[in-house]
């Protein structure tokens, strides 16, 4: 019974399962449609909450059509709806007409990364004074543990412009590294300077500050990225090698 019920909830082409009735024992008909509607409305709402920037770009009607196609093919695998839609960026990239706007999949990844950041574990930042007191050679040899709420995302498109646009926009084709920081409770995406993405990725992967500077290349304006990390509460701990 449950299998037929569940299948018919997600597929409006299936008939109402037998054995479901109204009070007079007649087939349930529209009464079953209430459940169908609840499922679709509830999951669409969860996706709308999770992907606000994608929704702004698509508009209400196109977003709803996308959400409904997605949720029928990919119902949540967990009751934690706050994380529902991790597969949506890939779905967008392969979704017929939407694939002609390839920046939309990256925008969905950005929405997803912001939401992950919002729910990530808290971490007190390092003490700025203690950091400033550390001799440069010791800092260069140290590994820097980044906050769990930090996310790094790159796109061939000017994705920050797209994220902040209030209506449909065709973004400039400009490779962009975005750093998502959560100084308090609200994640904010920042566009990184050239080399900044490689620098943060190296730190995230456990390399020393010196190695991360090498990875970023000579043109990387270190102070810009470093100030972002420091003021954005992204430096969770300085781990010096055992002497």
């Amino acid at each position: 019974m449950t299998a037929a019920f569940a299948a018919a909830l997600l597929d409006p082409g299936l008939p109402v399962p037998p054995g479901l009735t109204d009070p007079a024992g007649r087939p349930a008909g529209r009464r079953f449609a209430i459940y169908r509607n609840n499922v679709v409305v509830g999951l669409t709402e969860a996706l709308a909450t999770g992907f606000p920037a994608l929704r702004r770009q698509l508009g209400e009607a196109e977003f709803r059509a996308l959400a409904q196609a997605f949720l029928r093919a990919n119902p949540p695998a967990s009751p934690l709806l706050m994380f529902y839609g991790a597969a949506l960026p890939r779905f967008v990239a392969g979704a017929g007409p939407l694939a002609e706007r390839p920046w939309l999949a990256d925008l969905a990844r950005l929405d997803q990364a912001l939401r992950e950041s919002y729910h990530a574990a808290d971490a007190p930042g390092v003490d700025a004074a203690a950091l400033a007191a550390l001799p440069p050679e010791r800092l260069l040899a140290a590994r820097i543990r980044l906050a769990p709420s930090l996310r790094l995302l790159s796109s061939p498109w000017a994705i920050h412009d797209l994220w902040s646009a209030t209506g449909p926009l065709t973004p400039e084709a400009r490779p962009t590294d975005l750093l998502i920081l959560r100084p308090g409770f609200d994640p904010v995406p920042h566009e990184l300077p050239p080399g900044g993405g490689a620098f943060v990725a190296a730190l995230r992967d456990g390399q020393t500050l010196a190695a991360a500077m090498d990875a970023a290349g000579p043109d990387h304006p270190l102070s810009v990225t470093w100030t972002l990390l420091l003021t954005g509460g992204a430096l969770a701990a300085i781990e010096e090698p055992a002497s």
Partner: protein, 282 residues
């Protein structure tokens, strides 16, 4: 099994907590004496949701209300989800934990609705087994909530109140009486909500829910009430509520408003209305 004098929720109004009400609730709680949260919204690793809940828990008794355990489901309970619930209850130490007589997961697909089940000897045994597992894993008694329903199962051969009473007898769980669900389900099943209430074991009730519904129609034009939680509690539901308290005594009473959530003063006014009914039986 459940003795209201041992219930940790006060016999006073509470509200289903919404983040947009944080300031209103903390600065001007009015008659609101406790809050309820949906467990699944507080299963992230950190950030604002957990920080707000931590602060609220310092001030208000908290009821944790699960909406994702699928106790009425055919398959086994989700062990990972039970572990998350245990973790939440361990740090929060809520005054109450409750879940639904419903299912929401099938073959690992979570359908995000409280779906109905037939009432038979087989489903009764399965629900009782699941509740034993929940209470064992959480190390605490849970409350089981009566559902709102839109259709019936031809195979059902247990009456709903007898089904709930028997589950409570077998498992030792308490019951959460959703008075709006009684009115919605009885209207939709074309039965008498007052008779339903007269059969229901009120002495097992640890908490009451009140919420809003809106009217629709089925294929034959018969009234079909939708359990929308998007409006004020309806007058006939207030009537059933007053009768419940008159017969069973004062109980912790939650105002549920989950969709088209109003500004704080509107919700606080609903809580004040429940407070007035509670005071009348005190």
């Amino acid at each position: 099994m459940l003795d209201q004098s041992r219930s940790a929720l006060p016999a006073a109004p509470g509200v289903g907590y919404k983040p947009q009400h944080f300031t209103g609730l903390t600065e001007d709680p009015g008659s609101v004496a406790w809050i309820e949260v949906h467990a699944e919204n507080y299963m992230g690793d950190g950030g604002r949701p957990l920080a707000q809940l931590r602060r609220l828990a310092e001030r208000f008794p908290v009821s944790v209300h699960g909406v994702g355990l699928s106790i009425g489901g055919e398959g086994p309970l989700d062990r990972d989800h039970l572990t998350r619930l245990r973790h939440l209850c361990d740090w929060l130490q809520p005054a109450s934990f409750s879940e639904h007589l419903a299912w929401s997961t099938h073959d690992s697909a979570f359908l995000n609705d409280l779906l109905p089940l037939p009432y038979t000897a087989a489903t009764l045994a399965r629900v009782a087994r699941h509740i034993d597992e929940v209470q064992g894993r959480l190390g605490r008694q849970m409350l089981l909530e009566n559902p709102s329903t839109y259709l019936a199962f031809a195979e059902s051969d247990w009456e709903e109140t007898a089904f709930l009473a028997e589950i409570a007898r077998r498992t030792g769980c308490g019951l959460l009486l959703d008075v709006n669900n009684v009115f919605v389900a009885c209207t939709n099943q074309q039965t008498d909500p007052w008779a339903w209430l007269a059969r229901f074991p009120l002495h097992l009730v640890g908490e009451i829910h009140l919420g809003g519904h809106h009217p629709d129609r089925d294929d034959t034009g018969a009234t079909l009430l939708i359990d929308s939680h998007s409006t004020e509690v309806a007058d006939p539901v207030w009537g059933l509520y007053a009768e419940t308290l008159r017969r069973g005594g004062a109980r912790a009473t939650l105002i549920e408003w989950d969709n088209e959530v109003p500004d704080w003063p509107v919700l606080a006014a609903e809580a004040a209305r429940a407070a007035a009914v509670l005071e009348a039986v005190a």
